[in-house]
């Protein structure tokens, strides 16, 4: 029941913020803050309660579950469930949600009530996505998080907001449609073979799906999730959406929404389509590697700070695809840690870009420079997160990327070695960004530039502590995630162990089929 409460708190908090905001504008952000904080506290409590219950050896079942029939004739249930993976991601959701609310505190001045409504509802949608274990419900929440985000970009964005919000909406909607098609096909095929209709994840998982269409269904899911991620060549919505969105929008987009794509791959594509995932893995790995290198190259070429950070996300998300399709425990642990640490570090960079924009009214890095001498604290934080972005040890991103590469290398040494070039390219764009923004000569027109105020300091301190903690002591997360990761990989491992010869003829037959 507590899982339902999480969603109810956020949804009602959002509505309350909207309504109360009409009477007292300032109230809306406080309501948003409180509802997010309550959710964070609940999740934190859950973490501590459940941490000891994690059984490292035996990985079965959910830590917590809630299921009631919703639309019975169609076999739709309101099924929420929690395991280590969802719990960790929920913690990240509310943590970054808090940061997003705090960084909008002064930035958003128009239509505040509606803004906070949208913000909190996006969080609610994401929470739902991480918890829903019924494919219909999952799709429902997938849409819930999309629409408020569309409003956030199109109403509070900067100059080219309309273009960007359309683009964002069309990309995600089109890919969502593919997913819907895939879900419905899956639903009918399952009904055809087993005789009863259900969208329930657990039941779809236990029945063995053998159908000529299963490869196409898997590809449908794969594309839907990788557009969200985004993977090359579906990434072009991201730089536009990021650069035009308000800071909170960028934080949630980069920190959380991209992760729903990665989550989908781990939660649905790997366990539901084990053989198909192996079949498409070569393509996925290749696209992942291209994303890593292409994103880094593009980031180097940008002059708009937020576009630059957006392209670094493309690069980092490439690591996620590389890790997921290596079907290896080390790599998959790295993937989830990458989701967490990239969420934190990119959120920090976007917030920083937001602070710079509030002060300088520009995102063009050619008009910045020498800011270290005016704002050393800001410079230090910028340095810290730029270094996090290029994978410096002590900071969490290193653990994530190291585990991904280490795990992926065991199976795909060539891909991984090429992907490792990304480590060099990330250093190149990171030091360029530092040089352009913080080092060099001070430009005369920002003499009134001031360093962090206490609210900004609080946000940055929280994010810094989080990234250093994950970097120095990731073990609690690793333990928490282990059962979910093992169960995601269970089928792949079985397939690989039992019939490694059987896959290749099957692959041949599919090519033949085409």
């Amino acid at each position: 029941m507590i899982l339902v409460w999480l969603i109810i708190i956020l949804m009602s908090g959002g509505i309350l913020a909207w309504i109360c905001g009409y009477f007292l504008t300032h109230l809306s952000k406080w309501i948003a803050l409180v509802s997010c904080l309550i959710s964070l506290i609940i999740t934190g409590r859950l973490w501590f309660d459940l941490y000891n219950r994690i059984d490292l050896q035996n990985q079965t079942g959910w830590l917590m579950e809630f299921s009631v029939p919703w639309i019975k004739p169609l076999g739709i249930t309101f099924h929420l469930a929690l395991d280590g993976l969802s719990l960790t991601l929920l913690l990240l959701t509310f943590f970054l949600g808090l940061a997003a609310i705090l960084c909008s505190w002064r930035e958003i001045t128009s239509k505040q009530p509606f803004f906070y409504f949208n913000l909190v509802w996006v969080l609610a949608g994401i929470t739902g996505v991480f918890l829903a274990m019924d494919l219909f419900l999952f799709y429902f929440f997938w849409e819930v998080m999309l629409i408020p985000m569309y409003f956030m970009i199109s109403i509070w964005g900067s100059e080219r907001r309309i273009y960007s919000s359309y683009k964002f909406f069309l990309f995600t909607q089109a890919s969502g449609l593919l997913m819907l098609l895939a879900i419905i096909t899956l639903y009918f095929i399952h009904a055809h073979t087993s005789g009863y209709y259900t969208f329930d994840y657990d039941q779809l998982l236990t029945s063995s799906l053998k159908s000529n269409y299963s490869l196409f269904i898997a590809i449908g899911f794969f594309i839907a999730f990788t557009v969200k991620l985004p993977l090359f060549p579906f990434h072009t919505w991201l730089p536009d959406a990021h650069s035009e969105a308000p800071t909170a929008g960028s934080v949630i987009l980069a920190g959380l929404m991209l992760k729903t794509g990665a989550y989908g791959l781990i939660r649905f594509v790997l366990p539901l389509f084990p053989t198909e995932a192996i079949q498409i893995s070569d393509w996925a790995l290749m696209l992942g590697v291209i994303s890593i290198l292409y994103g880094a190259l593009q980031a180097f070429g940008q002059t708009d700070l937020k576009r630059l950070i957006a392209y670094t996300s493309v690069s980092h998300m490439g690591f996620i695809v590389l890790g997921v399709f290596s079907f290896n425990e080390l790599a998959l642990q790295g993937v989830v840690l990458q989701m967490i640490t990239h969420g934190i570090s990119t959120a920090a960079l976007f917030i920083l870009a937001g602070f710079l924009k509030e002060r300088l009214h520009t995102r063009d890095i050619n008009q910045m420079g020498g800011l270290w001498s005016l704002a050393p604290q800001m410079g230090s934080i910028g340095l810290l997160f730029a270094m996090a972005s290029c994978g410096l040890p002590v900071l969490g991103n290193f653990i994530a990327e190291f585990l991904i590469l280490l795990g992926a290398f065991q199976l795909h040494p060539v891909y991984t070695s090429i992907a490792s070039i990304g480590l060099i390219l990330s250093a190149i764009y990171s030091v360029r960004m530092m040089q352009k923004v913080f080092f060099g000569e001070v430009q005369n027109d920002h003499v009134t530039f001031h360093d962090f105020n206490s609210r900004e300091k609080t946000i940055m301190a929280l994010l810094t502590i989080a990234i250093v903690f994950v970097g120095l002591y990731p073990q609690p997360f690793i333990n928490m995630l282990q059962p979910s990761i093992k169960s995601s990989l269970k089928l792949q491992t079985e397939i690989k162990n039992s019939n490694s010869n059987e896959i290749s003829p099957q692959k041949g037959s599919i090519i033949h089929h085409k």
Binding site: F409, Q410, F439
Partner: protein, 624 residues
């Protein structure tokens, strides 16, 4: 005793944290006290540990301390675990002791800098990272230190960040070393794949069981690790960052770019000797890289005019000697030369810093001269350091350490006459450029008025380092005179003993080495102790220009890598993939316009359309 190892890196870390968070509020004296104090305490602790370790060495040869379990996934395990043995001992001693001296020097050298606290914070962070690097019990933790020192190097080269030239040098250093780091990382992945562990003791124990000698995997691992080492230690082909790194303050050059960080590559290869011993090809490549680098860098040093660039190239060249020693299998000789080099090169950099500071930040040696009487202490210590660099026979420590390398480059397992020849030619050029540097800087007529006279905080480190540059050599004397083996005895607890394949008369070869060194010095004195015009004339030739530009490696890399990358990033700034999406939008717009234009509102056209459609359908029906 093993419960205090953690304090070694923790003390400088504490110093860093204090300075980073409170530095802005503290006055200069407090800042200096924290900065110097933390490293000095670590140095004292290091001495205490060393004495304990040498007097009562544990049976296993090392002591270790686990702080916490860093990460453990499946069979992969990496702890925050420190590992202290004889090799770490030598490195810890050099890092903390030379580090503390350089901190003391910096307190005066940087005394008027507006970012005094930031400087000491970075330096303390550097010492902490470097200590983690040499104390790590697994390669992942070592990589943490490895990247940490890279970061500090980047920050300190670009310390005076307002000048964008410094920024460019800093970026260059960071990116080029990162290329090496990536090779190292891939080497670690492969190592884990083959051995199933990244813990150093596991690697040295099980490498020979799981990897066959000379197999392609063993070679590949060795070469990848070497890739990491050449990046950090500025060896061919990744040497180009070090001369530019001289943009940083002189104490930084002394500590990071001479004494400690750049020797991380030496440490890595020595630490991974078990792997290299399984790869004869890898060993040969190490030796060849070292030999080629020492020659290229020595000739480049000969033509430099900036005193710090002379020292930078000389550092690359001396590191080349260490690589040569490692490659031929003279493990202890490499480590011995590392230690002696740390003493005299730190001394030379600090001396050069004083000289530059005293002459209105003049870097060009051709504009210097006659400082012999004006800065007597600096002069004396600088000459002692130079003698060690040139390996002046008998009286300098550099002679004992370098002679061992030259000797083993001929006689050790992988030695060869060719390597010996390169080493001896390098030794001649070293003597020549060292003499040139000393003569141009300190002799001749005085050119500039002194703007600044160094105080005791700058003199004391110079004197202490000069003392070590002389007596440091006496702890290890060749067996044909003295035969003291204190150092090799200690280090061979960890490293394999040096195997000799031939044993010709050592005395004869020492005589040759000494003669070559003396003739180099003599020639240098003859050439450079004259009028400056003549020297400028001498050095205006094409060969000198080639040497001055460091064999044009920079220009080559610019054409090969830098410009294409810039070009690709620039032309594709607007992302060609986005054009595809644009094309979809464009096509739908175009189609929509075409269809819209058919909706004219004119009845005649509509009727025409209906008739035309009807005819078409009827025709189709008739035809089909």
């Amino acid at each position: 005793m093993n419960t205090v190892i953690w304090l070694l890196p923790a003390l400088p870390l504490l110093g860093f944290l204090l300075l980073a968070f409170l530095g802005a509020q503290l006055n200069r004296t407090t800042v200096a006290c924290i900065g110097i104090g933390s490293v000095s305490l670590a140095a004292i602790l290091g001495l205490y540990l060393a004495i304990n370790f040498i007097s009562a060495a544990p049976a296993s040869g090392y002591i270790s301390q686990t702080l916490w379990n860093w990460m453990q996934v499946g069979s992969f395990k990496a702890g925050i675990t420190l590992h202290y043995d004889a090799l770490s001992l030598v490195f810890v001693f050099v890092i903390t002791f030379v580090g503390a001296l350089i901190h003391i020097y910096s307190a005066e050298f940087m005394g008027h800098d507006e970012s005094f606290a930031r400087f000491f914070a970075y330096l303390n962070l550097f010492v902490c990272s470097m200590l983690i690097l040499v104390l790590a019990d697994n390669l992942v933790l070592m990589y943490l230190g490895w990247e940490g020192v890279g970061l500090c190097s980047y920050l300190l080269i670009g310390f005076w960040y307002k000048n964008s030239k410094n920024g460019i040098a800093a970026q260059k250093a960071f990116i080029i070393t990162r290329i090496g780091d990536t090779a190292l990382a891939i080497g670690m992945f492969l190592l884990f794949k083959e051995l199933g562990s990244l813990i150093i003791t596991d690697i040295s124990q099980h490498a020979s069981e799981k990897l066959t000698k000379g197999s392609s995997n063993a070679n590949l691992i060795a070469l990848l690790l070497l890739g990491g080492a050449v990046g950090k230690s500025a060896q061919l082909p990744l040497q180009t960052w070090l001369p530019d790194a001289m943009a940083g303050p002189s104490p930084v050059s002394a500590l990071i770019h001479a004494a400690t960080m750049v020797t991380a590559g030496i440490y890595l290869i020595a630490r991974m000797h078990a792997i290299f011993e399984l790869s004869p090809i890898g060993m040969h490549v190490v030796a060849i890289v070292g030999a080629a680098t020492l020659l290229i860098a020595a000739t480049s040093a000969l033509a430099q005019q900036d005193i710090k660039r002379v020292l930078a190239y000389s550092t690359i060249s001396q590191l080349g000697y260490m690589f040569l020693a490692l490659g031929v299998g003279a493990w202890w000789a490499a480590i011995f030369h590392f230690m002696i080099h740390a003493f005299f090169k730190a001394l030379l950099f600090l001396g050069a810093g004083t000289v530059i500071e005293a002459q209105h930040h003049e870097h060009n040696m051709l504009n210097m001269g006659g400082l012999k009487n004006k800065l007597p202490t600096v002069f004396k210590t600088f000459v002692i350091g130079s003698a060690a660099l040139a390996a002046l026979p008998l009286v300098s420590a550099g002679f004992y350490s370098k002679d061992a390398i030259i000797w083993y480059s001929l006689t050790a397992q992988n030695g060869s006459p060719l390597l010996w020849l390169v080493a001896i030619i390098g030794s001649f050029i070293t003597a020549l450029y060292t003499c040139r540097m000393v003569v141009l800087t300190f002799f001749g007529t005085s050119k500039t008025e002194l703007s600044y006279l160094p105080g005791p905080k700058m003199h004391i480190p110079l004197v202490v380092l000069a003392f070590l540059s002389v007596v440091g050599g006496f702890i290890e004397l060749p067996h044909n005179f003295g035969h003291v083996t204190l150092f090799s005895h200690l280090v061979e607890n960890v490293l394999p003993a040096t195997q000799q394949k031939i044993d010709p008369s050592e005395f004869l070869f020492q005589l040759i080495a000494a003669g070559v060194c003396l003739s180099g010095i003599f020639l240098g004195w003859k050439l450079y102790n004259g009028s400056r015009e003549k020297i400028v004339n001498l050095e205006s030739g094409g060969v000198f220009k080639f040497f001055l530009n460091g064999w044009y490696f920079d220009a080559l890399y610019k054409i090969l890598f830098q410009q294409p990358y810039y070009f690709m990033a620039r032309i594709n700034k607007n992302d060609v993939i986005d054009k595809l999406n644009g094309a979809i939008v464009f096509t739908s717009n175009w189609l929509s316009n075409q269809l819209a234009s058919s909706q004219t509102g004119s009845m005649r056209w509509y009727i025409m359309g209906i008739i035309a459609g009807a005819i078409m359908i009827l025709t189709l029906q008739l035809v089909l």
